[in-house]
Amino acid sequence: MFLWLSAALVYCFLYVPLVIVVLFSFNDSRLNAEWVGFTWKWYGKLLHNREMLAAAMNSLVIATVSAGAATLLGTLAGIAMHHYRLRLLPLLVLAPIAMPEILMGVSLLVLFIMVNMTLGLVSVMLAHITFSIGFVALSVQARISSMDPALVEAARDLGASPWRCFREITLPLLMPGILAGGLMAFTLSIDDFVITFFTAGVGSSTLPLQIYSMVKIAVTPEVNAVSTLLMLLTLVVITVASRLSPTLFRAQ
C-alpha cells in the first residue's frame, strides 16, 4: 500500500507539471494562475510569431539533417561493433552518451572556435550528430546481435554476393533498429538545449533556446502552447520508435 502510494506520488511529481503546461496552453487568460476558459488563441498567436516560426524551422532542419547523418554513421558503427570485436570503437561511439552535456557543449564550442568556424546551423548539426551516433549504433547493434548469423550464411550459400546479401538480408532485417535509432536521434536533436546553447550562433536559435529566452521574461501561455506541441511531437516519434525496436527501450 505504502509502495503504491509512493509510486503514485513520484509519478504525480513527474507528470502534474506537464499536464499543467498542457492545460494552461488552452487557458483563456494571460496569467498562469487560474482557469478561465478554453481557447485555441495561443496556438493561433504562435503561427504569427516570426521568431518562433524561424526557431521551429531551424529545429526541424537541424533535427532532420543531424538524425539522417547520425543514422547513416551510427548504422555503420553498429555493424562494425558487431562484426569486429573492437575495443576502442564502442568506447568512442558510446562516450558521448555518458558524458555530461555541459562538457560536450563547452568542448565543441572550443573546437569550433579553434578551427575558426562560424557558429550557426552547421555547427549545431555537427554537435547533434556527435551525440546521436551512439544511440543509433546501440539500437542497430541490439538488433544485429539478435539476428541469426546463419541467415547471412544461408544467403551467401544460396548465391548472394556479399553486397547483395547485405542489401537483401542484413539491411531489411536491421531496418527496425535503424529507424528506431534514427527517430531517437531526431527527438534528441529537437529537445536538446545545453549543447545547442553552446554551439548555436546568431540566427540559428532552436525551439528550446527560443522557449528559454521567452521564459526569462515570463511564462506566457504562448510558451505553454509551443511546449505542448514539442511534447506531442516527441511523444509521437518515441512511440513509433519503441514500436519498431522494443528491445532497445527495454535495454535502457
Binding site: 541469426d148 551467401r156 550459400d157 544460396l158 548472394a160
Partner: protein, 383 residues
C-alpha cells in the same frame, strides 16, 4: 561407367587458437552418396561441413569438387547448398520468396522463377503456404521449405547440418524416411552431419566417425556396427561391451585372446594381423550374447533363451562360457537388458527379447546365470 569421387577432401586442417578442430582430414565422397559425418560434439564435423560450404577457411589442405579445387571459391560460387540446423529461412520473405531467392540470385527470368517455385512447393506438398511467412510454419514445414529452397536450383551437393535435432522424436523419424526417399529420388549427394548414431545408421550409405578432429573410421553402417576398428567407434556406435586382454596366438582369422581376469576365448572374425602378446579389446554387442540359467547353456538348444541369438554356428563350433550374477535389469518392453557381473567383477550388458514367449523378465536381480557367445560374435580391436 567410371565412378568419380565427387568431393575430395585432402589433408584439411583447421585450428581455432589453441584448439585443433580438424587434424589433416582426408575423405572421398562419391556422386549420389548419402554420406554422414558422425561424432560427439566438438569432434570437428560441423567445422568440416562449414569448410565444404565455404563459410570458413581451412588452415591447410584442399577441397576438390569434380577434381577442381574449390578451397578459394566463395560460398556463392560453390554448386552446393546447406540445410541449417534451424533452417535459416529469411523471416522477412514469404515462403515463395524464400524459395525464389537462389533463382533470383542466379538471374533467372521471372516466369521461370514462378514456375519453378510452384513446382518446388508441390514437391514438398506445401503449395498453399506460398504467401505465408516462415514464422507461421511448424518445425516440419520449415524443414521442408528449407529443403525446397536448397534444391530449387539443382545443386550438385546438399549439406545438412543436424537438420532433425530441432524436431520431436516422432517427427524426426518421419523426416528421416522422407530424407531417404528424397535422396533416392533426386540422386544428388547428401553430406549429413549428426551426433545421433541411430540417425546416422538409418540414413547413410557410408558414415565417417570423427573424434577429436580426426576420422576414426569410414564405413557402411553395418560394417561400422559389426567391425568397429577401435574402442572409440565400438563405444560410440550402438551399445557395446569392451573386454580388454592380449593376443595369445593367431591362426588365419582365428585369434586366441587371454581376456583380463576371464581367461582364453576364441575370436574367429579378425581381418587384421595381431602380433602375439599385443594388447587388444574384444567388442561384443549385447544382443550377440546369450544368457541362460546356470548350467543350462551347454545343451542350449532346448532352452528358451537360445531364441534370442541368431542361429549361427561358427566353423569351429567354438563358444565361450562364463558364469555370473544378474547385477541389475532394465525392462524396456520389447527387450530386457540384464547387466551381469562376471567373476572378475566386469559388468557385461546382455539383451533378451521379451517376444520369445508370453513371459517377461526371465531372471531376477541376484540370479546366478551363464553367459555365452560364439567365436564369431565379437570383434577384436587393438587397444
Amino acid at each position: 561407367m567410371e565412378i568419380l569421387d565427387l568431393l575430395e577432401i585432402v589433408d584439411v586442417s583447421r585450428r581455432f587458437d589453441a584448439f585443433l578442430a580438424l587434424d589433416r582430414v582426408s575423405l572421398q565422397i562419391e556422386a549420389g552418396e548419402f554420406f554422414t559425418l558422425l561424432g560427439p560434439s566438438g569432434c570437428g564435423k560441423t567445422t568440416l561441413l562449414r569448410l565444404i560450404a565455404g563459410f570458413d577457411q581451412a588452415d591447410g589442405g584442399d577441397i576438390l569438387l569434380d577434381g577442381k579445387s574449390i578451397i578459394a571459391t566463395p560460398p556463392e560460387y560453390r554448386p552446393l547448398h546447406t540445410i541449417f540446423q534451424n533452417y535459416a529461412l529469411f523471416p522477412h520473405m514469404t515462403v515463395a520468396e524464400n524459395i525464389a531467392f537462389p533463382l533470383r540470385m542466379a538471374g533467372c527470368a521471372k516466369k521461370e522463377i514462378q514456375s519453378r517455385v510452384g513446382e518446388a512447393l508441390e514437391n514438398v506438398r506445401l503449395p498453399d503456404k506460398a504467401g505465408k511467412y516462415p514464422d507461421s510454419l511448424s518445425g516440419g514445414q520449415k524443414q521442408r521449405i528449407a529443403i525446397a529452397r536448397a534444391l530449387v536450383n539443382r545443386p550438385r551437393l546438399l549439406l545438412l547440418d543436424e537438420p532433425l535435432s530441432a524436431l520431436d522424436a516422432k517427427l524426426s523419424e518421419q523426416m528421416q524416411l522422407e530424407l531417404i526417399n528424397l535422396q533416392k529420388d533426386i540422386g544428388i549427394t547428401f553430406i549429413y552431419v549428426t551426433h545421433d548414431q541411430s540417425e546416422a545408421l538409418a540414413l547413410s550409405h557410408r558414415i565417417a566417425v570423427m573424434d577429436h578432429g580426426r576420422i576414426a573410421q569410414v564405413d557402411a553402417p553395418s560394417r561400422l556396427y559389426g567391425y568397429p576398428n577401435s574402442r572409440f567407434v565400438a563405444d560410440f556406435i550402438g551399445k557395446c561391451n569392451v573386454l580388454a586382454g592380449h593376443v595369445r596366438e593367431q591362426q588365419g582369422d582365428c585369434v586366441t585372446v587371454e581376456l583380463d581376469g576371464l581367461g582364453p576365448v576364441h575370436v574367429c572374425r579378425s581381418e587384421t594381423n595381431f602380433g602375439v602378446g599385443s594388447r587388444c579389446a574384444l567388442t561384443l554387442r549385447p544382443e550377440k550374447i546369450r544368457i541362460g540359467r546356470f548350467s543350462s547353456i551347454p545343451g542350449a538348444s532346448d532352452t528358451m533363451t537360445s531364441m534370442s541369438v541368431a542361429d549361427t554356428v561358427s566353423p569351429l563350433g567354438d563358444e565361450s562360457h562364463f558364469t555370473g550374477y544378474v547385477h541389475d535389469l532394465l525392462y524396456l518392453g520389447d527387450v530386457t537388458v540384464y547387466n551381469v557381473t562376471l567373476s572378475n567383477g566386469i559388468l557385461l550388458e546382455t539383451l533378451l527379447a521379451n517376444s520369445a514367449s508370453g513371459r517377461t523378465n526371465f531372471f531376477e536381480v541376484g540370479d546366478r546365470v551363464e553367459v555365452a557367445w560364439s567365436c564369431d560374435a565379437g570383434h577384436l580391436v587393438l587397444d
